[in-house]
Amino acid sequence: MSSSIPAVSLSGVTKHFGAVQAVRGIDLTIEPGEVVAFLGPNGAGKTSTIDMMLGLSEPTSGSAQILGLEPRDAIARGLVSAVMQTGGLLKDITVRETVAYTASLFVHTRDIDDVLAEAGITGIADRKVEKCSGGEQQRLRFAMALLSDPALLLLDEPTTGMDVEGRRTFWSAIRSDAQKGRTVLFATHYLEEADQYADRIVLISHGKVVADGSGSEIKSLASGRTVRATLNQPDTAALASLPGVDNVEVRGESVYVHAKDSDVVARYLLNETSARDLEITAQGLEEAFLNLTGDAT
C-alpha cells in the first residue's frame, strides 16, 4: 500500500499570468484521509492552485504531485476528481446519460445507480440537465466526481447555489466519505464552512499560505483571546507588562485584556488580584481571517 505517499504534494509552486502573480510559492503536503479547507478571499489564488493539482495548468515553477504521480497521470487513472464551481455540463442530455458518459471514460468505475443514489439524484435521473435547478446540477457534478472512486476529491466552492439544507446534506456525505479514507480538499471563502467541516485549514492570501492549522489554531494564531474579569481598580500597567498582552481596557467594573497567551493573563488575575467572573473569549474566525489575510480595514 501507499500510506506513506502524500495525497497532495506541492513544492515551491508558482503561477504567473503575464505580469500577474496568482500563486507566489506554495509548499503544501496533505496526508491521505485529511479533510482540508483552502480558505481565502476571492482572487487569493485558490482556484489557480487547484488547477495545477488537476493538471489543467502547468506551474510557472515548482512541482505538483498527486499520490506520487503527475497530475495528468493521476487523472487518467481516476485517482483524482473534482467538482467545479459552475458550468461543465451538457444541457441536452439527461442526468443519467451525463453520469453514464463520464463513467464510460474510466477503466475503474462504481455502479451508476449507486452513485446516483449517493448523490441523491435517482429521482431526477431521466430529467434533462437544463431542467435541473442549480443545486441539482451541483449534486450531479458531485455524482460525476464520485464515479471513479477517487483517492482525492477536490471541490472548488462546492456549495455555491445550494440552500442551507442542501449544504448540510452535502457536507454530511463528504464527511462520511472521508471517514472511509478519501482525501478531500475544498476551496471556500465561507469561513464558517471551513471551520465546521475541515480538520485543517490552509489559509491563503495573495498567492501564499499565510496560516495552516486547525480552526481553533488559526483563530488563536491570528489574534489570541480576550480575557474579561470583574475587578475594582485594576493595575493596568502591571497587566500591560505581562508577556503577550497587547491591549488593556477598563469599562466600568470590568477589565478587558487582549493577549496572545490568555493563560498567563488568567493565572495572574486569579492568583495576584481579587478578580472574579473571569471569561476568556476567542474572536470569531471572521475577524481572524481578515487579520491574517491582511484585508482588514
Partner: protein
C-alpha cells in the same frame, strides 16, 4: 469498492485515450435529438430539392450524363453535408463555452479521442444528410444519372464536407456561443450561393472569378464532376485544399490562444 482499498498502483489508464462506444452512442443520440440540426441538415435539403429540382423544365434538360434534376440533387446533398459537418465542428465550440471541454479534461479522455468522436459524429450527420437527399431523389424518380454517378457524387459530397468541420470549429472558436449556428446558417446559405450550389455561375464572369475564391466552390464542382466526367479542374481541388488549410490553421491558431478559463 470503498475508498479504503484504493491502491494507486492498481489503477489503469483506459485504452484508446478513453474512446468507447457508450460515449459515441450518447453523442449520436444528442445530435439526432437536436431538432434544429435535424431540420436544417436532414429535412431542409430534401425539401429544397423537391421544390427546385423536380421542376418539369429541369427533368427534361440534360446535364452531363444525367438531367438538371440530378445536378440539383447533387448540389442539395453537398449543401446538407456542409451544414452537417459545420454544425459538428461548431458543437465543439459550444461545448467549450459550456465548460464541458474543461470537465472532460478531468477524465482520462484524450483530446485526440475527443476530436475523433466529434469527427465521427459530424461525418455520421453528413452521411445521413447525403443519404436523405439521395434516397428521396431516387424514390421521387425525377433525377436521372448513371448509378456510378449517383454513388461517386454522393461520396465526394460527403467526404469533401469534412473541410467544413474545420470551418465550424474555427468560427466556433471565434464566436464561442451556444447559438453559433444562428450565425453560421445564413453565412453558409450565402457561401453556397456564391459557390454555385443555388444557381449556376458562369465561370468567365466577374461573379465567376469571385465564386472560384469562395469555400464552397471547390466542393460543389467536385461533387458534380462525376455527372460531367473528364478530368477535374485543378482550381476545384486547389480551392478545397486551400480552404481546408485556412480553416485548420485558423482553428489551430484560436485553440493555441485559448488560455481562458472556461
Amino acid at each position: 469498492m470503498s475508498a479504503t482499498t484504493i491502491d494507486p498502483t492498481q489503477r489503469r489508464v483506459p485504452p484508446l485515450g478513453g474512446f468507447n462506444l457508450t460515449m459515441l452512442g450518447i453523442e449520436m443520440r444528442r445530435i439526432l435529438r437536436n431538432r434544429r440540426a435535424v431540420i436544417f441538415t436532414l429535412i431542409m435539403p430534401v425539401i429544397l430539392y423537391l421544390i427546385i429540382g423536380t421542376n418539369s423544365q429541369y427533368t427534361g434538360d440534360k446535364a452531363g450524363s444525367g438531367n438538371v434534376s440530378a445536378y440539383i440533387l447533387i448540389s442539395m446533398a453537398a449543401y446538407g453535408a456542409v451544414l452537417a459537418t459545420t454544425s459538428g465542428g461548431a458543437m465543439v465550440a459550444t461545448e467549450r463555452a459550456l465548460g464541458w471541454s474543461r470537465q472532460l479534461r478531468l477524465t482520462p479522455l484524450s483530446p485526440i479521442a475527443y476530436v475523433m468522436v466529434k469527427a465521427i459524429v459530424a461525418l455520421f450527420l453528413g452521411l445521413s444528410s447525403v443519404l436523405a437527399v439521395n434516397i428521396v431523389g431516387l424514390l421521387n424518380g425525377k433525377a436521372e444519372m448513371p448509378t456510378h454517378v449517383w454513388i461517386a457524387a454522393g461520396v465526394i459530397a460527403w467526404l469533401g464536407s469534412i473541410v467544413f468541420g474545420a470551418f465550424g470549429l474555427f468560427v466556433g472558436y471565434l464566436l464561442p456561443s451556444e447559438n453559433v449556428m444562428q450565425v453560421l446558417g445564413p453565412a453558409l446559405a450565402g457561401l453556397a450561393a456564391l459557390g454555385g450550389l443555388w444557381f449556376p455561375i458562369k465561370s468567365d464572369s466577374v461573379l465567376g472569378h469571385i465564386s472560384a475564391c469562395t469555400p464552397i466552390y471547390g466542393l460543389a464542382n467536385l461533387a458534380r464532376w462525376p455527372l460531367y466526367g473528364g478530368a477535374p479542374h485543378l482550381v476545384w481541388i486547389l480551392n478545397l485544399l486551400g480552404w481546408l488549410i485556412v480553416f485548420v490553421a485558423g482553428a489551430a491558431w484560436r485553440m493555441s490562444k485559448d488560455t481562458a478559463r472556461v
